[in-house]
Amino acid sequence: MAEEQDRKKEEEKHDEDDHHKLDLRGTFMMVMAIGGLMLLSWFAVFILFMERM
C-alpha cells in the first residue's frame, strides 16, 4: 500500500517536471510582448539618435 502511494507521488512529481503537458500560451504571449516592446524602444532611441546627428 505504502509502496503504491510512493509510486503515485513519484508519477505526480514527474508530471510537474514534464513541460510538454503545461499550457504555456499565455507565458509565450507575454514573453513575445515584452521582447517586442524592448525591440521597439531600442529602435525608437536609435532613430532619435540618428535624427540628431
Partner: protein, 163 residues
Amino acid sequence: MHKYEKIWISLGTASLAIFLIILGISAVHGGHTPAASGIETIHPEHIREDARFSEPGLKKATEGDYDYDLYFIASAFMYEPGEVEIPAGSTVKIHVTSPDVVHGFQVVGTNINMMAEPGLISTYEMTFDDPGEHLIVCNEYCGVGHTDMTSTLKVVDGGTDHD
C-alpha cells in the same frame, strides 16, 4: 523541453549574440575609443596660458574640414563663454576642458554629451543647421553649484551656407 520554451530561449540567445557582435565591432570602430587613446592632454593648472583657452569662445577654423573651433572651459560652477552664437549651417568642432574637477557638457536636444575632465580636451564635431537656442548643462555632479552650471548655445541665421 516545451516547444514555446525552445522558441524564447533561442530568441534570447540570438539577441545576446547580436549584442556581443555589435559591442565587439563598436569597440574598435566608429570612434568608440577609450578616453585615454589618442585624446589630447593639457595641464589643468595652466589652461589659461594656452592660446586656445585664454579667451574661450568661437574662432574661425584654421585647419580641418570644419568652419569653426569652439573652445569651452567648464569650471566650478560656470562655463566660459556663458553664451555663444553660431551661424546656422556651419560645422563646429567643440573643445572642452576643465581646470578643477570632472564636469559634464551636454547640449540639450543634440547628441553632444561629453565629460570635461581636468587634463584632457574632449572634442565633438557637429553641423548646426536649424536656428534656435540650446541649453548647455553639466551632468556630472561637481559640487554645490552644480545645478546652476549652465551656458547657452544660439544658432543664428546669416551664417555660412554650404548645403
